[in-house]
Point group: C2
Chain length 497, copies 2
Amino acid sequence: MPGVYSQGMNKVIEVTELALRDAHQSLMATRMALEDMLPALADLDRAGFWSVECWGGATYDACIRFLNEDPWERLRAFRKGMPNTRLQMLLRGQNLLGYRHYEDGVVDRFVDKAAENGMDVFRVFDALNDLRNLECPIRAVKRTGKHAQGTICYTTSPMHTVESFVDMAGKLIEMGCDSICIKDMAALLKPQPAYDLVKGIKARFGSEIPVHVHVHATTGVTMVSLMKAIEAGADVVDTAISSLSLGPGHNPTESLVEMLEGTGFETRLKKDHLARIRDHFAKIRPKYHAFLSNIVGVDTEIFESQIPGGMISNMESQLKQQGAAHKMKEVLEEVPRVRKVAGFPPLVTPSSQIVGSQAVFNVMMGSYKVLTGEFADLMLGYYGETIGPRDPEVMKLAEDKAKKPLITQRPADLLKPEWQELREAALALPGCQSCDEDVLTYAMFPQVAPQFFLHRKDGPKNVGSDPSPKQAASLSGPVKYSVTFAGKTHDVTVAPL
Amino acid sequence: MPGVYSQGMNKVIEVTELALRDAHQSLMATRMALEDMLPALADLDRAGFWSVECWGGATYDACIRFLNEDPWERLRAFRKGMPNTRLQMLLRGQNLLGYRHYEDGVVDRFVDKAAENGMDVFRVFDALNDLRNLECPIRAVKRTGKHAQGTICYTTSPMHTVESFVDMAGKLIEMGCDSICIKDMAALLKPQPAYDLVKGIKARFGSEIPVHVHVHATTGVTMVSLMKAIEAGADVVDTAISSLSLGPGHNPTESLVEMLEGTGFETRLKKDHLARIRDHFAKIRPKYHAFLSNIVGVDTEIFESQIPGGMISNMESQLKQQGAAHKMKEVLEEVPRVRKVAGFPPLVTPSSQIVGSQAVFNVMMGSYKVLTGEFADLMLGYYGETIGPRDPEVMKLAEDKAKKPLITQRPADLLKPEWQELREAALALPGCQSCDEDVLTYAMFPQVAPQFFLHRKDGPKNVGSDPSPKQAASLSGPVKYSVTFAGKTHDVTVAPL
């Protein structure tokens, strides 16, 4: 693998390309099929990226739920297609890629299998920034010899300060992380805090500790934040190839390359490869028109509401189902209040969904008249500790509703070893193969896995389609109608001329 | 008018809002009707902008050619609707808002009338950066007591250096300009040159000389360039409200406000007014769907080709008319060669069209087998001097073709007083009123003015439309059909359920 962190006269800024994971997760609901990625792998492998993020996050779920793709097959295809590049994944700490806490033995097995199938860099985060939820997965990654990246979920609140984030970085370093990631999933990281945060980490812990910066583009300020982070000493930044960039996604890779000219920094990316990657995904993107984000341009209201784009569309559909689409504004105003009650968690999967759903219920039914099970768990510590104190009255309501006590220990400490049980349940399913990978699929997605195992043999299903199927259909006739007129029924055929 | 250039602890960065001129010129072919702007004027007037750019550029042409709107009426409406804000226009130097050089008397009258009708700030540029073409209009603006802004058209070439641009700024200051604008019409201004250029001007001529920075967003790097320009001392930057921003347009106003938090700089813009302006244009924008730019996201190839977005679409349509759409790539590669032959002019109206058309002819007919009249004029000095030497062989071809000699004097020095002649010709047209404004309309657009004068009384024509007229029609029924079936004709009514 190519040299890292230095080259020639300029400081080399390394780049993680997001096209294969977060870019399509943010822009097209994680629907891109492997077959639409394969033709770009050779160029991705040769372009000079520090890593290619390509797995984890919502991709595992989307693979088995929508695409009839085995996520492990996908990982192996990436490994084969990009032999010279670090593969990178996003791991939700003790939740792995699912939506609950897993017992440590399951976490160990997941990390082992991911490493064995080709993963190089594990970006590990916890939605509450509760370090106890990161200990086991980071230890597991270290044990495999792979790169363990400890993640700070960036957010803003009266409790969150540059100092508090720098402290967190220190603890991640103590835990043995190979690098620190500042993860700004909602595009809230403004230029000055970006500078201060990177500078603070480098000043306190030495310039050798690699700092990676991940920002979204939604608010229109974060390209500047990348520049300031780089000036402060950031080593690696995340971008997406231009044809899969912007909106709720990320800043364009090619623009980053150009931006640095003359600044004393440079990437080692090769423009000809970038151009081919761009052209490929420019061709692919329209296929996924049905899933494309409605957000174009920028949204600076997020600075007030802190609500990431994906969460807004979720809440909109929840409200519509209840015939209350007109209450959206009230819900948007309720979210920051719910977040305060919950002790100011960052809003990222799964806390974003939990806080968002509770805000919808509060507006629809009255404040905390109904608590979702997940919100009660959040209030009672079952996701971990929050930075701020949680509202004692709502905690009491949660105890009553959930009939569970408040906990203060690491949530996974409550769990008994569960691998054998999961394994037996998985192997009982038709189509489940006797490998740990399948057991993990079942463990993380017990509702979806049975159908997936059953239909896996049918092979991947590409949900992309012709950008204008309706027009095409209306032209392709003939169409037969049964027309009842003046009491008589006739077969009528209508064909285009 | 509010105070300028200072407030409180932070340095105040002033902002020029582009929504009413360059934003819709860049995004929707200058088609926005006055009636779609009027509801936003009260908020624009109170938001705290240093100026609102609202006139000039292509708007005058678009008003009379497409919208049946009197541009002078529009200007007076802006003056009335924004009594507390500087109105700003873009003036193409000795070309005024037309496409040829005008004799100084016409320039004087245009500036007088614009000032009289309410214009405050005249941003004056010449496509070749030939200062001789700026002398008369800047003198005219100074005479009216209005703000004369001297403009540097930013471009890159082997001849263009930071030093050369700083020299030009010095000459503009000597000419009496009240401020200097760095105009980056093709989004070529990267962060470091932005910093160096502003710093260079301030260092050489003192920090008191106000520097305004105008960039487009096309390449995805220029928000960072604004930040670096501000760090170097820029006083005013140009942005567009987010709902009319990005693509080939400009960086979003709201993002600029947010970007500066904690940096030691701040705007004095009021977010509540910005939100209302944004919401208004978010509602209006879809009406102009038929004219919306195809460019979404960013385009970094411009750094190589230097071809602004508007020019690409022009060349595409030229090629299509000749059944040669497949030659686009060759044309894009030819443009920089033509630009070199012509002495490296910046590419901006009209030089962009002149160079682009010649590149099309070169590809279609062979190198310089055919010269357009405008390209011959450019080669022979009839638009002014270029920074680099022009190709002697092609200059010789131009002399032969145009049967005109090379000139080295200021082009307008060749022109005789023409106002009386223009006035007589204008007043002979049906519908032309006996005012200088109408004479100026005729002077600048002799082909379009006659039709406009004739139909002006019909009132403005809004070329916006319902975003989906077809679907709307199909739902709004009932529709009556006459259906002939089995030899008999029936009246059939189809209504939506």
